[in-house]
Point group: C2
Chain length 126, copies 2
DNA sequence: AAGTGATTGCTCAACAATGAACATTGCATC
DNA sequence: GATGCAATGTTCATTGTTGAGCAATCACTT
C-alpha cells in the first residue's frame, strides 16, 4: 500500500518537480532535505527525471558558480507534474484519513475509558 | 526525515508488534497487507523480531496446520511495544500535521483565489 | 597568492525491500 | 485414495536507498 515502491517514487518525483518549478536553482542537498530523502537519493532521482525528459540542466544564474546547476522543467515535465497533481492529492488525502484513524485508535488505547470502574491493565482481546 | 530508514523500520516493527499482540495467528500475508509491505518483507521483518527476542514462534491452534505459525510476543516484546508507542504516536502526529499542510497548500494551488477578479491560470511565482 | 574551510555535484559499498517464484501442506471434489 | 486448487512460509535476483566519502569550486583571511 503506502510502502509500494512505485507510488512512493511517484511521490518523490512529484515533490521534486513541484519544488523545481518554483525554484530551479535548489541544490541537491536542499532538495533532499525538503523532500525527505538522502543526498545520493536526490542525485539518483534527478538523473531519473532527466532520463525521462522531465527536467533539463540549465545554467546557474548567480556569479557563474561552476559547481551548481539549475534544474529546469521541460514542457513535458510541466505537463507530467500537472498530471501527477490529482493523483498525488487524492493519495495524500487517503493517507491523511488513515493516519487520523490510526492516531485516534492509538490514543484510545493509551487512555482507557475512565467513565466506569473497569478493571485496569486488562486489554480487551478479540 | 520521513524517509529515514531507521524510523521507517521502527514504524513497521511497531505495527507488527501491535497487530500480533491482538492476534498472534495472523499469516505473513495478512500482516504484509495490514502493514503495507510485501510478503517477503513481512518474513524479513518477523525474522528480525525473532532475532531481537521480541517474538517467538508458537503453535498454531486450529487443526494442527503444519504450514502456519503463531507469532507470540515475548515479555521483552511487550515491553518494547509499549516503549515504542509514545514515539510512534508523536511521530505520526507530526506527520499528520505535515500532511495536512501539504494538502492545504496543494488545494490552494489548484483553486486560485476567487474572491477578486484576479487573472486566472496565473500562479503566483515567488 | 596561498592557505583554510565550507559547499557543490557526484560515486560507491552496504543494506533494505520488492515482486515473483518455489516447495509444502491442507481442503475439496471426483 | 487420487487429483486439482488454494494458502502457507520461504528464497532470490533485481532494484531503490542510504550514508559516508570524494575531487572540484567558492568565499574568506592572511
Amino acid at each position: 500500500m503506502a510502502g509500494s515502491r512505485k507510488t512512493s517514487q511517484e511521490d518523490v518525483h512529484f515533490r521534486v518537480l513541484r519544488l523545481l518549478e518554483e525554484n530551479p536553482e535548489m541544490s541537491q542537498r536542499d532538495l533532499a532535505q525538503a523532500v525527505g530523502i538522502s543526498v545520493g537519493g536526490a542525485h539518483y532521482c534527478l538523473n531519473a527525471l532527466i532520463e525521462k525528459g522531465l527536467i533539463k540542466i540549465g545554467n546557474f544564474s548567480a556569479a557563474r558558480d561552476k559547481r551548481r546547476y539549475a534544474y529546469i522543467l521541460t514542457p513535458k515535465g510541466i505537463a507530467e507534474k500537472s498530471a501527477l497533481t490529482g493523483r498525488f492529492l487524492k493519495r495524500k488525502m487517503a493517507e491523511y484519513e488513515a493516519l487520523k484513524a490510526e492516531i485516534d485508535a492509538l490514543k484510545v488505547e493509551l487512555e482507557p475509558t475512565m467513565d466506569d470502574s473497569a478493571p485496569r491493565k486488562q486489554a480487551q482481546q478479540k
